[in-house]
Subunit: 217 residues, 4 copies
C-alpha cells in the first residue's frame, strides 16, 4: 500500500520573471517524505483558464491528505500563510495566456469565499519556533494565486470534504529581488525549510483531528 | 612577503539579539582570499567608548588596502552600501556598555562628515549583476555603526590617506527576523556572497587607481 | 414625504485614542444632503457585542438607500474602499468592553464572506478625479470594523436585499498621527470631502441600477 | 526700523507635478509675522545652476535671523526636519533646466557636510505638542533640495555666521498623492501650521542664544 500524500502546487514564472520561487519550492520538496507523507509536486501554468480541471485531476489522482498551494508575492518579506480565498478575479496584469479578467468570479455560482482549512496559527507558531520569518495574511489578492486557492477550496468543499487545503505566498528569491529596487526576498533554503515545516505542522493537526474522530487508519 | 589585506570589521550582537549578521559575515569571510587579498576580520564591541583606538590599532597592524565595516540594520531588506558618515552620535538605545550619548560628536573637532572612498556605484553594479539584492544609502544612522564608519574614515583621512574605506549595512538574518513581526531578512549565504562581491569590486577599483597613478607594486 | 437616506456609521475612539476619524466624519456629514439623500449618522461603540442588533434597528428605522460604514485604520495613508467582509473575528487587542475573541465567526452559520455591493471602482475613480488620495482594499481586518461590515452585509442580504452596503477605512487624523512615529494621516477636511464624494458616486450608481430596473420612484 | 525677518525658501513644481507644497507653504506664510519676525518668501526654480547666487542675494537683501528651506519629498508621510546637508549631487531625474549631474559636489572645495544649525529637536517637540505629524531625518537626498540646503549652510557658515539655517521636507499635498498610488500626504493647512510652529520654535531658540550671549537688541 502506498504512502499517504501531500499535494503541493507551485507556478511557472510570470510577470517577466525567469524563475518562480513557488516552482523552486515544489521542485525542492517534491518526492520528499514529511511525517510519513510523500510530497507530490504540481507546477501550474499562470493562467485563469483550466485551473479547476487541472486541480480536479490532480486531487483525484493523488488522494492527498492535504493540498497546499504556493505562489509568489513579490512585495512580501516573509512566508505568508493565507487565511481566506475570495471568489473574485481582478487582474492588474495579463496572465501567461494573455487573459486579464476584471471583476469576474473565479467560479460562477460558488460562495463568496472559503477560509483555509489548514491550522494556520499552528503553522505560524511552528515557523516562528524554527526561526523562519512568517506571517498570516487576510488577502491572497485577486490574480491567479487567489484563483487557484479558491478553486482548490471549492473542489475540496464540494467533492473531497475530508481533504484540508490552504495557500502560502512566498517572497521573491534574492536573484529576483536584485532586479526590483527595494524588494525584500527569502532564499530557497529558508523557503523550502519553511514550507516543509508548515506542511509538517498541518499534517500533525490533520492527524490529531483524525485521532479525535477515531478515523486513524 | 605577505599578501595585501582587507580589514573587515563586524560587530557583536546588540539590542537583545543573540547573533549579529555582521559578525557572521566577518567570520565567514575572515581568512578568505579575495582578488589576492587576505580578509582580516575584526569583531568590534557595540560600544561608543574605544572605537578609535581599536580601529587605529587594527589598521596599523594590518596595513589594509581597504577597510570595510559591516553592521546590522534590522529594518532594511537589502545589502545597503553607505555613502556618507556623519560626525554625530544620537543613540536611541544604550550601547552594550550602557552608554547612550545624545547629540554628541563622534570625534570632537573632526569634520561634519566623510564620504565613503569606496566605489559605491561599481559595488552596487557588481551586486546587481550577481543577483544579490542591494542598494545605496545616504544615512548610516547615528548609533555605533555610523560612529565606526566615521572614525574609520577620519583615521584614514588623517593618518592613512592611501587606504580607502567604507561601510555596508546588512539586514537581519532570517532567524532574527522570525522574532520581529514584518521584518525583512537575508540569509548568511547571500550576505557573505554579496559582501565578498562588494569587496572584490572595491579592490578592482583600488587597483585601477593605483595603475593609473603608476603605483602598482 | 421625507427624503431618501444614507446610513453612515462611524465608531467611538478605541485603542487609547481620544478621537476617531470615523466619528468625526459621521459628525461632519450627518444631516448633510448628498444627491437628494439625507445622511443619517450612527456612531457605534467599538464592541463586538450587540453589533447586529444596533445595525438592525438603525436600518429598520432609516430605510436607507445605501449603508456605508467608516472605520479607522491607523496604518493606512489613503481612503481605503473595502471590497470584502469576512466572517471571522480575530482580535489583536481587546474591544472597548474588554472582549477579545479569537478565531470566532462574526455570525455563526452565516457565509464565509460578503463582497461590498457598492460600486467600489466608480467610487475610487470619483475620488481620484476630485484629487482625494484613495485606494481599494481586499481586507478590512478581523476586528470590530470588519465585524460591522460583515454584519451590515449579512443584514442587507438576508433582510433588506435592495439596500446596498459597503465599508471604507480612513487613516489617522494628523493630531493622532503626531503621537505615532512614522504614521501617515489625512485631515478631516479631505476625509469628509472624500467620503461625501464616495457616497455621491455610490448613489449615482444605485440610481442607475434603479432606472435600469424601472424602479425609480 | 523694520522688523527682523525669516527667509523662507520654497520651490517651483518639478517632476511633472502642477504644484509644489513647498511653494504653497511659502505663499501661505509669506508676509506673516511669527514671534515678531516678518516671513519673507522666496520661491526657487528647481535647477542646480544658480542656486548659490540666488541664495546669496536673498540673504544679503533680507538679513534674516534664520533661513529655512522647504522642499517636497513625495514618499514621506510627515513634516521631516533635516539634520544634515551633504556636498553631493546625484540626480535621479533631470532638474527643470534639463541638467542631471551625477556624483558632483554642490560646491567644489566646500566641506563634505553641514549640520542644520536650527534646534531640530525643539522644533520636533513643538510640532508633536501641537499635534502635527513630524520626524527628524538624516538625509535630504542628493537632488536640488539637498543642494539648496547645503548652499544655504555654506553661505551662512562662510559669510553670515550669526544666521542660523536649516531645511524641512514636506509630503505631497492630497491632490498630488491622489495621482500617486499608495503615496501619503498632508494638507496645506497642516503644513502651514506646522512650518509656522517650527519657525516659532527655531526663533525662540535663536532668541535664547542671543540672550545668553548678551546680544539682545
Amino acid at each position: 500500500m502506498s504512502a499517504p500524500t501531500v499535494l503541493l502546487t507551485g507556478f511557472e514564472p510570470f510577470d517577466g520573471e525567469e524563475v518562480n520561487p513557488a516552482q523552486e519550492v515544489a521542485h525542492e520538496l517534491g518526492g520528499e517524505r514529511i511525517a510519513g507523507h510523500r510530497v507530490i509536486p504540481l507546477v501550474l501554468p499562470v493562467t485563469f483558464e483550466g485551473i479547476s480541471s487541472r486541480l480536479s485531476e490532480a486531487i483525484a489522482a493523488t488522494h492527498p491528505t492535504i493540498a497546499v498551494g504556493i505562489g509568489q508575492a513579490g512585495s512580501r518579506a516573509r512566508i505568508s500563510i493565507e487565511r481566506v480565498a475570495i471568489n473574485l478575479v481582478d487582474a492588474r496584469i495579463a496572465d501567461n495566456a494573455g487573459a486579464q479578467p476584471v471583476d469576474a468570479p473565479v467560479i460562477a455560482g460558488a460562495p463568496a469565499a472559503y477560509f483555509s482549512t489548514l491550522p494556520v496559527k499552528a503553522m505560524l507558531a511552528a515557523l516562528e519556533a524554527a526561526g523562519v520569518p512568517a506571517e498570516l495574511s487576510f488577502s491572497a489578492g485577486s490574480f491567479v494565486c487567489n484563483a487557484v486557492f479558491f478553486a482548490t477550496m471549492h473542489l475540496l468543499a464540494t467533492r473531497h470534504p475530508p481533504v484540508r487545503g490552504g495557500f502560502i505566498h512566498v517572497p521573491y528569491l534574492p536573484r529576483q529581488a536584485a532586479r526590483h529596487p527595494g524588494a525584500p526576498s527569502l532564499d530557497i533554503g529558508t523557503l523550502s525549510k519553511g514550507i516543509g515545516i508548515a506542511i509538517e505542522a498541518a499534517l500533525a493537526h490533520a492527524q490529531d483531528l483524525r485521532v479525535a474522530a477515531g478515523t486513524t487508519d
